[in-house]
Structures are given as C-alpha cells and as structure tokens.
C-alpha cells in the first residue's frame, strides 16, 4: 500500500501559536454545545492558519503577514473606560436604542434595554451562551456555510455581542445601535451578534465601532442575520477605529422568499479594515442592496470582499461601493456573484467606484461572476479616477477655496451611497461624519 503523501507541517507564525495558546488555556468554559462549536471552529481555523495572499479571498489583505502578534483578550473595563465611552460620538445625535460595549464587554448601565417594543428581544451573547439558550445555539454559526479562517476564529473566540429577535410581523421603528468602544489598552476583541428577523418583521440595526486611542488593538467582529419570509432589515456598520487598529468583520445573511436586506458598511478610520460579506439568497424574489463607502487617508487600508450567492428565482442584488483615497491609502473591492442552477431571472449588479485624491493612493478591484443559469442579468463594473478639474475651477470661480471645492465634490461622490439610507436622521448624521472627515484633510 502506498503511503499517503504527508504535508510537512507549516511552522506556525508567532500570532498563530499565541492564538492556540489562548484557546487552550482560556476558552474551555461554557455550555457543552458552545464548547463543541468553538473547538470545531478552532480546528477549522488551525487547518488553514491565518489567511494570506495565497488565499484568493484574502489576496490583497495578507492577514498572516500583517498580524505580527496577538494582543491579550480584553479585560473588563474599569470605571474610567466606561466614563470615556459616554462620549462615544458616532451617530450620537440619532434617536436609537443603544446597546453599549466597552472594551468588548456589555455595559448595562450605558445601554437602554428598557421598554422593549412588543415582540423584540435583545439579550447579550454571553448571557445567551451561558444559559445555553436553545434558539441561539441552534442558529449561531449556522446561518450560512462560510469557509473563512477569520470567521472561524471569531466562532472559536466569540466573547460578547447581542442576540436580537424581532418577532413575526413586528415593525421596530427605532434603530437598534450596537456601540462598540475600544478601551485604551492594547487588546483583542471578538464580537459576535446574531439577529433573527421573523416573518414579515422589520428593523434597523446600526453597528458602530470607535476607538479614541493610538494604541494598537484588534477587532474581529461577526454578525449573522436571518431574514425570514418578507422580513426586512436595514443594517449600517460604521467603523471609525483608532489610527493603529485592525478591524476584521464578517457579515453573514440568509434571505428567505421576499426578504429585503439593505446593508451599508462605512469605513472612516483604522489602520486595517476588512468587511467581508456572505449573502445567501435562498428565497425567491428576495432583494439585497449592499453598499459601502471608504474615506481613507495616511496608510489606511480597507478591504470590502463580497460573496453573493443567488440560489432562488427572481432574486435581486445591487452592490455599490465607493472609495475616496488620499495620501497612500489603499482600498480593495472584491465581489463575487454566484448564480446557482435554477436561479433564473436573477438580477445582480455590482459597481465599485474609486476617487483618488492623491497619486500615491491605490485601488484594487476584482469582480467575479459565476453563472449556472441561462436566463439572468448580471453586470459589474468599476471606475477609478480623480476629481474633475473643470468642476473644481467652476466652484473656485465662484469664490470657493480649493480645499472646500474638493471637499464638496468629494461629498457629492460619496453622497450617492448615503442618500440611499432610509432613516433620515441616520442619513443626516452620516453626511455630517463625511463632512467632518473630509475637512480634516491635511
């Protein structure tokens, strides 16, 4: 008998070795199902290791090279950290039900979970896992088939987040905002949320990440969303992380028939930002609108990687991603549309547009279509360009200084994705965030 070929074991990077050590010593606790899930996930992660440029999905964001060491798992926040979190600024003026996490820990006294709308339930993830909540353990990690090392790592280490359930037919008008504030120490945060929007229900979810610190910290966040039939969710994710922060985030959504998802990921700061989305459209006539915007400067790097899986007839997806890149910042857009056999009349469109404000900035766009049905409409495109000099001249000829003219035109460029946000006060707050960010240009 031939001997099976033996792959020589790759030497683990320091970061991988450290992750294994932390996993072995700190994460054996929890309900049995959870422990099992974590172990399987860590096993899956270990087989592949940290993703690197040889993984097609991580080609432009080599996490293995970038993650040189692993910061310790965050310790509970002290009073001063909680105090400073009171100044969390992202969308502070929007009327929303806030659920606040400081340094990766749920802070009930800063959160508003009183008078929940009828049919809405919000529970902290740690609580749901500790008591072995059946609905949670059944769904978590199960919303879609995602073969990705960063997501596996999140499942293995998931610490805190929320489990939200919107009951059938319930319409929750007030947006629910998950506020994640990093503390001032170097730390690693594993945040995980599960959102179930039952049949015909409707809600708005905001996830904001901010860190007012120059310390290096690492965020690995994941949100799984189940949209049952005719359910609707508008989700906004805003990352305004500290200058040295690394932020990797996974979004998994499953859409049943006639479900509607509107997702907007907005990157406004952080050394490395990755938003990866896995959208599984398994219901007929379901509709997914996916938008993203990056406003980057310095050496910031943002990666939006999108996987759209159309598995049902007459479903639609519209993706529009815009990047504004200054200095030597970089943006990556990878989008893959898969149309499975039988998913006839699929209408899928994907567009990435980049505005380069400096010669040193860089954009990488990689669309992919994989189509196994013969009656579909799929389109993709990308553009990269600079501001129109004729328009700058026109604005300046009216007395508007060059920097302001450029800011106005850049706002207009980003505006297209923001204008699509349904909630008006959120839309206005986002416009203000853009404006502030652009006017801090050097």
């Amino acid at each position: 008998m031939d001997k099976a070929p033996v792959t020589p074991a790759r030497k683990l990077t320091d970061a991988e070795a450290r992750l294994a050590e932390i996993f072995a010593t700190q994460l054996s606790a929890g309900a049995p199902q959870t422990a099992k899930l974590r172990a399987a996930a860590f096993d899956a992660f270990s087989k592949r290791g940290l993703p690197n440029r040889r993984d097609e999905a991580w080609r432009y964001t080599d996490l293995r090279a970038l993650l040189r060491d692993v910061k310790p798992l965050a310790a509970p926040p002290d009073e001063s950290a909680k105090q400073s979190a009171r100044n969390a600024a992202v969308l502070a003026d929007v009327t929303a039900r806030r659920v606040v996490f400081v340094g990766g820990y749920f802070v009930p006294e800063l959160s508003d979970l009183s008078d929940l709308e009828k049919g809405l339930s919000v529970m902290s993830l740690s609580e749901a896992l500790a008591k072995g909540d059946a609905a949670t353990t059944a769904q978590i990690g199960n919303v879609g088939e995602v073969d990705d090392p960063a997501f596996a790592l999140n499942t293995a280490f998931m610490g805190e987040g929320v489990v939200i359930r919107v009951g059938a037919g319930v319409c929750v008008d007030r947006p629910i905002q998950l506020v994640f504030v990093a503390s001032a120490q170097p730390a690693t945060y594993f945040l995980r949320s599960l959102v179930i929007v039952e049949k015909g229900a409707r809600a708005t979810l905001i996830e904001s990440f901010e860190g007012d610190t120059t310390q290096e910290y690492h965020v690995n966040a994941a949100t799984e969303v189940v949209l049952e039939e005719v359910a609707s969710l508008e989700r906004l994710k805003i990352s305004r992380e500290g200058a040295a922060a690394m932020h990797v985030s996974t979004f998994v959504a499953a859409l049943a028939a006639d479900a509607q998802l509107s997702d907007f990921g907005f990157n406004l700061g952080g050394a490395l930002l990755r938003n990866q989305s896995f959208i599984n459209i398994s219901g007929q006539r379901a509709h997914a609108a996916l938008r993203g915007a990056n406003i980057l400067k310095g050496k910031e790097h943002a990666d939006a990687t999108l996987f759209l899986d159309h598995a049902a007839e007459r479903s639609e997806s519209k993706a529009l991603f815009k990047s504004v890149l200054d200095d030597t910042s970089q943006a990556v857009f990878q989008g893959k549309i898969l149309v499975r056999p039988g998913a006839q009349k699929t209408d899928a469109r994907m567009m990435a547009r980049t505005l380069l404000l400096s010669e040193g900035a860089q954009a990488n766009c990689k669309p992919e279509l994989e189509i196994f049905a013969d009656d579909v409409q799929c389109a993709h495109g990308s553009t990269v360009g600079a501001l129109d000099e004729n328009l700058i001249f026109y604005l300046m000829a009216r007395g508007i200084p060059q920097a302001e003219a450029e800011a106005l035109l850049t706002e207009a460029f980003v505006g297209e994705v923001i204008d699509a946000v349904e909630n008006r006060s959120v839309r206005e707050a986002l416009t203000t965030l853009v404006s502030e960010r652009l006017r801090t240009r050097q």
Partner: protein
C-alpha cells in the same frame, strides 16, 4: 481714479500656444463694454485668463482688478476680489445641492473680505427674490447645480449667481449662445439690474443681438488675440452689416 479693470499689453498662452498678443483694455466702474469678434479670436481665452483657469498662462503684461494684480491671486481670491465670469457653458455639478453651492460661494467670499456671513434664512429669502426676477422655479434650485437644466435654464442660473454674489466686474462669456428670445430677455433684464456706477460689465459676444437688450457704452472688436478697434454702440450695428471679414484679414 484707478480703473476697475486695466489690461496692459497682455500676452497669454495655453499649452505653449500664444493666444493673447498684446491686449489692452480699460474698463471703469459704471461702464458696460462689449467685446465682439470672430470665432477663434481669443474671446473666451481672455475670460479664462482673467479668471485664472489652470493651463492659461500670462507670459507678459498685466491685468489689474481695481489696481490689484490678478496674476498674483488664486481663482477663488479673484472671485472674492469681485471678479465674476458667467460661463459660456455652465457646468453641471452632480450631487452638490444648489443652495449648498450658493451658500458656500457667498460665505467664502464674504469671509475672505472680512464681512459677516449670510444666514441660511436670509440666503433663502434672497435667492427666492432673485428666482422670481429671473422667472425661475424654486424647484429647480432644490436640484444639484445645473443638473438636467436646459441651456436657457443654465444661463438664468448663472445670472442668479451673479446677482447674488454682487461682483464688481462681471464678464459675460457668450451669454447669448443657446438662448431663445424669452430667456435672452430675462437674462438681459437681470444683467441690466446689475448696472450701477460702482460696477463694470464686460459682455463678450459674437452677435449683435444681445446688445439690443444690454446697451454697451463701449464696443471693441477683437481679432487674433487683441483689440483692433474701439467705438461706441453704433460699432456693433456696423459689424452686423459688414461682418468680421476685414478684421480677420487685417490680423492675418
């Protein structure tokens, strides 16, 4: 008294090609000048050189606005100093709301001059008044700047900007091109409202028609990048009769 606009032996080029060849022009406050000339004589170039469009380079001579050397100022500084160019082809600015644009322009100019900014309610009130004078629908002004406007609507919008910004020197570059007679009347009415003893107006045009509505004090003929003849308003009528042929041959 210092002239409002004083151009002395101005030479200017674009992409290495000399377009203005020793240009002389003096406009005093209170005067309306018309500059007429055949296509390709550098009429638009003059307006771009004065407003500071990138690519247009002064190689010799001077252009002074109320005694200040325009070549030493950025485009926005020239505007704040009181120079307004009404574009031959006003640009569409997708995504920038007209009101945002007007507010940014007016208040940037005021700030640069050390004046107080205009409040939003005052601005809206003023824009409404001007829209009425120019027979413009306020709905149009809720759209992004010039987006989807017809040629005539764009020229009305330019005139509205000019009336709002109250410049010292207005340069109208072929404002009559693409205008029907109703729009021409309305735009001319707006321009005539701006005639004052403190302001100068330079109307650049190919045809005499506009001058039926905006009566000039002085008419110049421009050919091959300089003024070749200057006269009163009757010169415009003469040109209508004789055409530009003799000026073109003179230049050649």
């Amino acid at each position: 008294m210092t002239a409002l606009l004083e151009i002395r032996d101005l030479k200017a080029e674009i992409a290495g090609k000399q377009i203005l060849n020793g240009y002389d022009l003096t406009v005093n406050a209170g005067e309306v000048h018309a500059i007429m000339g055949p296509n390709g004589s550098g009429k638009s170039t003059l307006s771009y050189v004065l407003s500071g469009r990138p690519g247009y380079k002064i190689t010799e001579g001077q252009a002074l606005l109320a005694g200040a050397d325009l070549s030493q100022m950025s485009v926005d500084e020239r505007a704040a100093a009181g120079l307004f160019l009404a574009f031959q082809y006003p640009l569409e600015v997708p995504g920038v709301a007209t009101m945002t644009f007007l507010r940014a322009a007016l208040n940037a100019q005021r700030k640069k001059r050390g004046e107080e900014e205009m409040s939003s309610p005052d601005l809206i009130k003023r824009v409404k008044e001007l829209a009425k004078i120019l027979d413009m629908d306020m709905e149009m002004l809720r759209r992004p700047v010039n987006v989807g406007f017809s040629g005539g609507e764009k020229k009305r919008a330019e005139t509205l900007q000019m009336m709002l910004l109250e410049p010292k020197l207005c340069i109208l570059d072929e404002t009559d091109s693409g205008l029907d007679i109703d729009a021409l009347k309305v735009v001319s009415y707006g321009v005539n409202q701006l005639r004052s003893k403190d302001r100068g107006i330079v109307v650049i045009t190919h045809y005499q028609r506009l001058l039926d509505y905006i009566t000039p004090d002085v008419v110049h003929v421009q050919s091959a990048g300089r003024i070749v003849r200057t006269g009163g308003k009757e010169l415009a009528l003469e040109l209508e009769e004789t055409g530009y042929a003799r000026y073109q041959s003179e230049a050649a």
